[in-house]
Symmetry: C2
Subunit: 299 residues, 2 copies
């Protein structure tokens, strides 16, 4: 199957990135959001992506114009989905909202449409019962900043058709992602399964005053031959996410250690307005964090 | 204090690297080992470091000759330590062996000598009682492959003199390491505190067949902007170490999950002679593992 027509549901940070990237790669993309304000926000994101692509990603003005021409926007789900080969959904991360969305879209989508969820915390099995075509339903999950972190994690549920799984891998490739096949359902997929214990180890070292963020990041950057240490990484994903992940799983698993890490982040960062890169301060100060200094690793 | 004379106790893999590096950086280095065979092994390591420095680290034949001239070897501890400004100890990783070594060397070393341990699994407090100068005793810990992973983790115990701590940081810098100050005793220091949960998360994903080593490493290399994924890292440190860490802590903490990871490594790798880079096979095949292919991240 040669895909052409893509529907992106949810015009937030990540949905807008995916829509832009798919359009840039030649797909016809319809962006759906329930709210008119959502659509307006999505259009603003796309203006800034256009700038970014010209200034920092060597895109020509013609390429950017063609990308814009391939994007359309609607708050009408029936219009949005009517000719879609593939849907990628980034609606709010609540099970009931997702299920309700899939019940609606199941009624409206043509038979050919493959449904993919970009959910980070839910696994496909939890949603599949709300879908009319479970064999064509699976996760295609992106990491924030999809141009630098260009992974597309592909994860089915036991009822997903293997042929559809392959088609979604191909689609991920076609929009410039490296497809990461996941063969069993896994909370956190691959990346967050590695990232969360790693970042928590770093928060723990800082919270217990064993070492400081700069020393911790240096250690990792040298030892793992990496451009990004854990404290810098937390600043990028934001203190709110670092807090939420630990608070949510801490409560769910009654894990006092995770709750303590969440409390540390709240007290020392969130309560002081230090939200990470987005607020200009976290473990580092932005826009020029010390870890990007050329001499950082030899000081 | 300007240091000049260094004693390296233990001529194994890491001790020999540290001795070579200190001599290369201009220090007079005495290598001590209890056994004549240990000394012979250390000399062989130094021959191969000489080759390595000329072929891969742009060292001139003159520099290498000077380095060799600064190295001497002895099985006599009294000779080894008699004029040392600093001792770095990499004797076998058993508390009783370490303590016994420090009792001996305490009697023989001049007052000026700073004692540093390269122990990975013991913390300075566990050893300090065997030392006659606890204020001049602390850890200076190196990572294997000290030329690429040039970190020197510095960790005292509550009785360490802060001035001595600083001098050891300076020494680490003087031999080309990035000093990582650690302000509270921490099993695993900084690097292994980050590394172990991260590597275990990867082993867990492979063992449960959630994903495959190549996909896991790709995900990390892209997402953490790193040249080294966790499975490649395990191959480098070796399956035996990956097994030992999990088996030891699994027993100590009665942690079934770690014991299961250890069992997985034993059954699937060690029992089959796949020890990692050292045996030519682990998660990858060597000397040309696929993760080093230029196209690895875009396949």
């Amino acid at each position: 199957m040669r895909m052409k027509q893509i529907t992106i549901a949810g015009a937030g940070t990540l949905g807008s990135q995916i829509a832009w990237q798919a359009a840039f790669c030649g797909f016809e993309v319809t962006v759906f959001d329930v709210f008119e304000e959502g659509i307006e926000r999505g259009k603003k994101f796309h203006e800034s992506h256009a700038d970014h692509f010209i200034k920092e990603r060597n895109a020509s003005p013609e390429e950017v114009e063609k990308t814009k021409a391939r994007l359309s926007y609607t708050t009408n789900l029936e219009d949005a989905i009517k000719d879609a080969d593939l849907l990628n959904e980034s609606v709010p991360e609540k099970l009931e909202i997702k299920k309700s969305f899939y019940r609606d879209v199941s009624k409206l989508a043509p038979k050919k449409t493959i449904f993919t969820t970009n959910s980070s915390t839910l696994i496909p099995s939890q949603i599949a019962e709300a879908v009319d075509r479970p064999d064509k339903f699976l996760a295609l999950h992106f990491a924030n900043g999809i141009w630098d972190s260009n992974i597309g994690e592909v994860m089915g549920h036991p009822g997903t058709d293997p042929e559809i799984f392959k088609q979604v891998e191909e689609f991920a490739k076609a929009i410039g992602m490296v497809p990461i096949p996941i063969h069993k359902e896994q909370n956190g997929y691959v990346f967050n399964s590695l990232l969360v214990p790693f970042l928590n180890a770093a928060i723990d070292l800082v919270a217990r005053e064993v070492s400081d963020p700069e020393s911790i990041d240096k250690t990792w950057m040298i030892g793992n031959r990496s451009q990004l240490g854990p404290c810098a990484f937390i600043d990028i994903i934001g203190m709110e996410t670092a807090y939420n992940v630990n608070q949510m799983w801490g409560e769910q698993l009654q894990d006092d250690h995770r709750l303590a890490l969440a409390a540390y982040i709240k007290e020392n960062f969130i309560d002081k307005g230090k939200m990470g890169v987005s607020s200009g301060e976290g473990f580092y100060s932005y826009p020029n964090p010390s870890y990007k200094d050329p001499g950082f690793l030899i000081k």
